[in-house]
């Protein structure tokens, strides 16, 4: 046997401190050539910070980084790029109105006849070659804005490879992809591995990791917990490493006490989006809304909540017919909407926890037009404690919180408003395993307190584990309805794909 090859990437003793928080505490990470290395950990465990150090976006306080055995300076993103590091973030860095080829060579355009001119033909040729090498059928001249998410991601991958990335970091690459697209992505990742590229892969979807990963490094609270071969580990072990405890009972059984009707929707239509949707939701009930991406689940939620206009259809709340023309009205009627995209639609990131918590119900803290910040802070403090929001204080801006804690702040907002018909849209998207379990418990508790809950989710275990009843959407219609506990994942998927329900 030959001598063990030095790792392609070796990060040792990496430390990063922010005021009041130790983000990274002497973390080690070694990645070999031609491996898919999973980076696992709850949100706030330090994965992103570590990757930002690698990308030159964050300066480390201590530690050294070697690539190919040579120490590298990662002072800024360009230096990291020169060292062969490329990162694909969840939010893509593409210019939507430029073509695929333009994006691939942005900033490195092949020079034309005169300085300042671009050799467009060479660029197109190179782009085509790059895409072909990846095995991706994409037109280099297509406008990026016209591509789907999966295709845009391929453009990102191609871009990374075109700058000779030796180390490719992918942050939650599958969060917006369909099953089929994920498989294509995995095929591409495997071909990269075969070419000797090291892929660092961050994801919260445990099942995926075993399909694609070679080794895994687990982080917790800014520390390195362990690195092992995926082939030698089980999901339970990994989860235990991540959270320091086992999560065998992710979905504790509860006895639902289902009460009277809270919400009824009849014949809801929105042209081209929603077709003839009728269903009801009872107090104490959790109804899961399943379906593929683009099947109209979020659109349904927005329509009910008054965020989008409906063409026809009627809505009853607690047995009373209501017309909901705006979110304001929906909120007055006791509805709450936890949006899919917390950062863009759920929170005012640059403001603090108290301000975000009280935003939907300032009237509660107002007397004679004067707001009492003290009372708002009391309530926000009580809710934050009740929901176990991890924070140094209520004055913390929510932008500094981890995903799970941000989600809790959104939830606190609706609890502050005392909303009793709650719509959760992907409540655990981008949230780590430990916080997920907490969110599940919260959802169950809220239902236990007599609230009615409609939960949109793309994660089947979540839908199956939590729902009393499951509605499935397909192309803007309700395609099936199941009782929780009486349906298999296969049946749900079948229905979501538009085949006849097996039930």
């Amino acid at each position: 046997m030959a001598l063990p090859e030095p790792p392609l990437l070796a990060m040792h003793g990496i430390a990063k401190r922010y005021p009041g928080v130790v983000a990274l505490d002497a973390v080690d990470l070694e990645v070999r050539r031609g491996e898919v290395h999973i980076l696992l950990g709850e949100n706030g465990a330090g994965k992103s910070t570590l990757m930002k150090v690698l990308a030159g976006a964050v300066r480390r306080d201590a530690g050294d980084v070697r690539i190919d055995g040579r120490p590298v300076d990662l002072g800024d993103p360009r230096a990291a790029q020169r060292a062969g590091v490329s990162i694909i973030y969840q939010e893509f860095n593409l210019v939507p109105h430029l073509s695929v080829a333009d994006n691939l060579y942005l900033g490195r355009e092949p020079r034309g006849r005169w300085p300042g001119l671009i050799d467009r033909r060479a660029q197109a040729r190179n782009a085509a070659r790059q895409l072909e090498a990846l095995g991706v059928a994409l037109d280099p001249q297509a406008r990026v804005a016209d591509l789907g998410v999966a295709e845009q991601q391929m453009v990102e991958v191609a871009k990374a490879l075109s700058i000779d990335a030796k180390i490719l970091v992918m942050d939650e690459p599958t969060s917006a992809l369909t099953e089929k697209e994920i498989e294509r992505l995995f095929a591409v990742i495997r071909s990269l591995r075969a070419r000797g590229v090291a892929v660092i892969y961050i994801s919260h979807r445990m099942e995926e990791l075993f399909q694609i990963g070679d080794r895994v490094t687990v982080m917790r609270d800014g520390r390195h917990v362990g690195t092992c071969l995926l082939a030698d580990s089980t999901m339970d072990e990994l989860i235990r490493m991540m959270v320091g405890r086992s999560l065998t009972e992710q979905f504790p059984k509860r006895t639902a006490r289902i009460g009277e009707e809270a919400l009824r929707v009849e014949g809801l239509n929105r042209r081209g989006v929603l077709h003839d949707i009728s269903f009801s939701l009872r107090r104490g009930e959790i109804v899961g809304l399943a379906g593929l991406m683009g099947s109209g689940r979020t659109e349904l939620a927005r329509a009910i909540f008054g965020a989008d206009r409906i063409d026809t259809g009627r809505i009853w709340l607690r047995g009373r017919a209501v017309t909901i023309g705006s979110p304001q009205q929906a909120i007055r009627e006791g509805m709450g909407f936890l949006t899919e995209d917390r950062k863009r639609q759920g929170l005012v990131l640059c403001r603090d926890i108290e301000e975000n918590t009280s935003l939907a119900h300032l009237g509660r803290f107002t007397r004679a037009g004067v707001l009492s910040p003290r009372r708002a802070a009391e309530t926000a403090g009580r809710l934050a404690a009740e929901l176990r929001v991890k924070t140094p204080g209520l004055g913390q801006r929510v932008v500094n919180l981890s995903g799970g804690n941000q989600q809790k702040v959104v939830l606190a907002k609706w609890l502050c408003r005392e909303a009793d018909v709650l719509i959760f849209d992907e409540p655990t998207r981008g949230i780590d395993v430990g916080a997920k379990a907490e969110i599940y418990q919260l959802i169950q508790r809220l239902a236990g307190e007599g609230r009615a809950i409609l939960m949109i989710s793309s994660e089947l275990p979540e839908i199956l584990g939590l729902s009393d009843r499951i509605l499935v959407m397909h192309r803007g219609r309700l395609a099936g309805e199941f009782r929780g506990g009486e349906v298999t994942p296969e049946q749900l998927l079948h229905c979501a794909l538009g085949a006849h329900p097996v039930a």
Binding site: Y18, A57, V58, R59, F305, A307, P327, Q328, A330, I331, R332, F337, T339, R344, Q345, G346, L347, V348, L349, C350, R351, E355, S358, L359, A360, L362, G363, T366, G369, V370, L371, S372, P373, G395, K413, R417
Partner: protein, 315 residues
Amino acid sequence: MMPPRFLVTHARQAGTVAVFVVLCLILSLLTPHFLTTSNLLNVAQQTVINAVIAVGLTYVILSAGIDLSVGSVLALAGVVLALALQAGWPVPLAIGACVLVGAACGTVNGLLVAFGRLPPFIATLGLMSVARGGALLVTDGRPVSGFDASFRWLATGEVLGIPVPVWCMLGVYAIAHFVLKRTKFGRYVVAIGGNEEASLLSGVPVAACKVGIYALGGGLAAAASVLLTARLNSAQPIAGLSYELDAIAATVIGGTSLMGGQGSVFGTLVGALIMGVLRNGLNLLGVSSYVQQVVIGAVIIAAVLLDSVFKGSKR
């Protein structure tokens, strides 16, 4: 040693105040005329107009908007005031009409932004021209002057040794600070600026708030025109040229983010004072007004530059 908590949470404001204090120290060392009661009152007097306009702009900018029309609105409201006074209206009524005109202009801005979905830059750029034209039209381009002594008191009067305009400014700031911190409207302004969509989905009446914000901006520009008209004893249709830029500068120096969502009324007051002290000090030192422009511009750039350096160091 950890700095006191207040300084941590209000680091930016503490910085602005520090700059102001250092500036004053330097000027008092350079010229004996700076640190005199009469000169300081003079600075306050000169700051008043810009400071009052800047309050309105602070609200607008906090909501992630911009208002370029305030200078022109000041002129229009000023000539309305002057014409009303000349026509023999009682002073309070004339002032009421003036503020109403300003608020109406602001409301138009707000409606265009909130319901017409125009970018604030465009809507207020349009109104900037419309209001200026209106002011020129009603006066035929001539200044309107000659008012009752009771009106002049607003500029020349003193209460407890402090000029009336300064009291007015302090009153406006106290109220604006209170409204921002302690009312729903204030919270909504900041929330809209921080994340409009999240605010909308949280039930914030976004459109109504925007109309209110721009109406407030216009109303405060009109209020400034009352003080200006009283001081000059005349209203000019060409008054207030480029005042919007001074007000934006005061707001930005005061630490309010042009992206919206972050900033304070207090910071704007200090920002306006910094500009006032700088102009005054340069005058005392005999620096030409051409050079003054250069200096003020550099200060604005430095303020924002420091902000971005400060933010950058946090990465």
